[in-house]
């Protein structure tokens, strides 16, 4: 058995631009996706994630580079000969066929015997909890049910890889949350490799084993959810996934896994973990997540502590969300978990209070400017 379910090796895809010239949709992307992995392509619209998926499905051919499925070079093999099936964003159910006929379609194309088709269609519909709806027409189903039919139709073929193009995009928030967990459970149950395209970082973090964060055709970072969240390798990834505070500055020293940045606005140095390619004297950003900032009455360290004033504080139940000003108009978002249950007013923050903002170096990242 080859090592990877899907490999993209230095894949480039260019489209002719109607206005002349070319658009590079996918720019030298290399991905190696393991068997049984739930792999997400995450990025804003136009980042090339759907084009990447379509090259795996066979709807597009790479301008250069290579796509392999189960070690086999795909080249110009058409979609109908590839061991990959797609769940489309619009579901693309056949409107003139019943639910059962939709699900049976792929098996009929493989000339599976009639009795086995019936059996497998029933199984697939059971799996997506649509038993008994086989005779319905797609337009008689709700959006969530149509989504399940699309899933059953692709899974019934038992593909090596299932490609999902924003399959939950058209569902409302509550249903989407339910389906996220269900999809993940389903993927673990069938053990098929899922490649999942989404622009929703929460969705990607919830479901994925690994995520490739894409922007402008490039895969900027590939890693487990905890890696891309806790150790983003560039400003874009830190910004796109979760919330973060940025301070711009210049690298003044590098030592071990740490870097020191001089932040002009604070007229002070900030120490943090170095990420990505950094050189002395280079412009860099300090990145720290709001939940990782500590507010204190006295400075606990002799570095990375800055006097600040609370601008606003909002109590939202689980958290208190604050905006603090460090002087020079420099503001930061701070989230504090309400770990103690109390009605005592002095425990909560008041606007205008003065506090020290503490950026623990191990929670602070120094990233290249771009």
């Amino acid at each position: 058995m080859p090592q990877y379910a899907v490999e993209l090796l230095d894949v480039v895809k260019r489209f002719p631009n109607p206005g002349g010239g070319e658009i590079t949709a996918v720019d030298h992307v290399t991905l190696r996706i393991l068997h049984g992995e739930f792999f997400s392509l995450l990025g804003p619209s136009g980042c090339g994630k759907t084009t990447t998926l379509r090259m795996i499905a066979g709807f597009e051919w790479p301008t250069s580079g290579e796509v392999r499925i189960k070690g086999q070079v795909m080249g110009r093999i058409p979609p109908y000969l590839r061991p990959a099936n797609t769940v489309f964003q619009s579901y693309a159910l056949f409107q003139h066929m019943s639910v059962a006929q939709n699900v049976a379609f792929g098996l009929e194309m493989e000339h599976v015997p009639k009795a086995e088709i019936d059996h497998r269609v029933g199984e697939a519909l059971d799996m997506v909890q649509l038993s008994g709806l086989g005779k319905r027409m797609p337009r008689q189903l709700s959006g969530g049910q149509q989504q399940r039919v699309a899933l059953a139709r692709a899974l019934v073929k038992r593909p090596a890889v299932l490609l999902l193009d924003e399959p939950l995009g058209a569902l409302d928030l509550k249903l989407r949350k339910e389906m996220q967990l269900e999809l993940k459970a389903l993927q673990e149950q069938v053990g098929i490799t899922f490649i999942y395209v989404t622009h929703d970082q929460g969705e990607a973090l919830t479901m994925s084993d690994r995520i490739a964060v894409m922007s402008k055709g490039k895969a900027l970072q590939i890693g487990a959810p905890v890696e891309v969240y806790e150790r983003p390798n560039c400003r874009f990834v830190a910004d796109f996934i979760g919330e973060t505070n940025f301070l711009s500055g210049r690298v003044i020293s590098l030592e071990g896994d740490q870097a020191v940045v001089y932040v002009e606005q604070l007229k002070k140095e900030v120490v943090g973990l170095r990420q990505g390619e950094l050189r002395n004297g280079q412009d860099a950003v300090v990145s720290i997540r709001p939940e990782k900032i500590r507010l204190a009455e006295n400075a606990p360290l002799n570095l990375n502590c800055f006097p600040a004033k609370i601008v606003t504080s909002a109590y939202i139940g689980s958290d208190t969300r604050l905006i603090v000003e460090l002087g020079n108009g420099l503001r930061m978002n701070v989230w504090e978990q309400n770990k103690i249950s109390t009605l005592e007013p002095s425990v909560y923050y008041l606007d205008g209070q003065e506090r020290w903002v503490v950026l623990f170096p191990e929670n602070t990242l120094i990233l290249p400017m771009e």
Binding site: A57, G58, F59, P78, P79, Y80, A84, N85, T86, F88, Q89, S90, A92, L93, F94, Q95, H96, F105, G106, M109, E110, R153, A154, K157
Partner: protein, 303 residues
């Protein structure tokens, strides 16, 4: 202020207006009355006139004598007329079939063309129809006649030795009819083909269908409503067509349309012409109903 409100409640609209304000049924009646009026004047009334006329008798000088008479209908049962009727059905059906065969690839091509070219291509289909129908039929006569364009070309190329007789044949009539009715097939077909999402065809390919299977299993079934609509739009007027057989069919080809026209204008037998019209109407209705029942209703017709 209070006075004004009191005045309001004192006011009572005239009877009819009051009914219109209070009774939803009257409101409905009022709303459909323009359509109702239109149908009465332009459809029901003329139809009733034709029905009455078909039951009267032709006078000796081609006038209409007001005497009840069912012979017009029994005369239609004559094998001569039945044969004409059958032949008209055949020609109209063949016209529908050929407009599908020619129109389908055309509509498919236009529907799959880049979006910005589609309206231009549709426009090109319609451009010839800005010219008068009769003139276009004469153009076909120029092409098909014995010393016409086609024969000259074939003779000069040495493909044939003696000119082919193409004009004044049933084939010529069919060519003329297909030409005339092609856009009525292409437009509804285009509408239904254009509506098919690209993702549906991609999904079929993704599930293992080869291009021809994608067409047979997905594209074609989804275009059937357009085909039904187009067939109805072609079949109904083709059943009554008389200009094309007159000009291109010579004396040999007579369709029910010619028969009716001749009864009114040449034989001056209005009652018999009306009876033939009624038969044509019923026949067309029956065929159309059977067809739509069989193949599902052509919703495209309503768009």
């Amino acid at each position: 202020m209070q006075d004004k409100i009191n005045q309001r409640t004192d006011y009572r609209a005239p009877f009819l207006l009051r009914r219109l304000q209070e009774d939803p049924r009257s409101q409905g009646m009022a709303l459909i009355s323009p359509t109702f009026f239109y149908l009465i004047v332009f459809m029901i009334l003329p139809l009733v006139l034709v029905v009455i006329l078909s039951l009267l008798t032709r006078g000796p000088y081609g006038n209409v004598v007001y005497r009840l008479n069912l012979q017009n209908y029994s005369r239609l049962m004559d094998s001569l007329y039945l044969r004409i009727l059958w032949y008209s059905l055949e020609v109209a059906a063949l016209t529908s079939v050929f407009t599908i065969l020619i129109g389908y690839p055309l509509a498919y091509y236009i529907a799959r063309a880049p979006r910005n070219q589609r309206s231009l291509l549709l426009f090109l289909i319609l451009v010839p129809f800005w010219t008068n129908f009769i003139i276009r039929i004469y153009a076909w006569i120029m092409i098909l006649r014995t010393q016409g364009l086609l024969n000259t070309l074939l003779l000069n190329l040495g493909i044939i030795k003696i000119p082919l007789e193409m004009l004044y044949t049933p084939t010529a009539v069919l060519i003329g009819m297909v030409y005339e009715f092609l856009p009525f097939m292409v437009l509804p077909l285009y509408t239904s083909l254009e509506k098919i999402e690209n993702a549906q065809m991609e999904a079929a390919a993704d599930l293992g269908a080869r291009p021809w299977q994608v067409f047979l299993r997905v594209t074609f079934p989804l275009s059937i409503p357009g085909m039904i609509a187009g067939s109805i739009l072609v079949f109904i007027p083709a059943m009554g067509m008389f200009v094309v057989p007159d000009l291109m069919g010579g004396a040999k080809t007579i369709l029910v349309g010619n028969l009716i026209r001749n009864q009114f204008l040449t034989a001056r037998d209005w009652p018999f012409g009306s009876a033939a019209s009624m038969l044509l109407l019923v026949l067309t209705l029956v065929v159309t109903l059977l067809y739509t029942r069989k193949a599902g209703f052509g919703e495209e017709l309503l768009v």
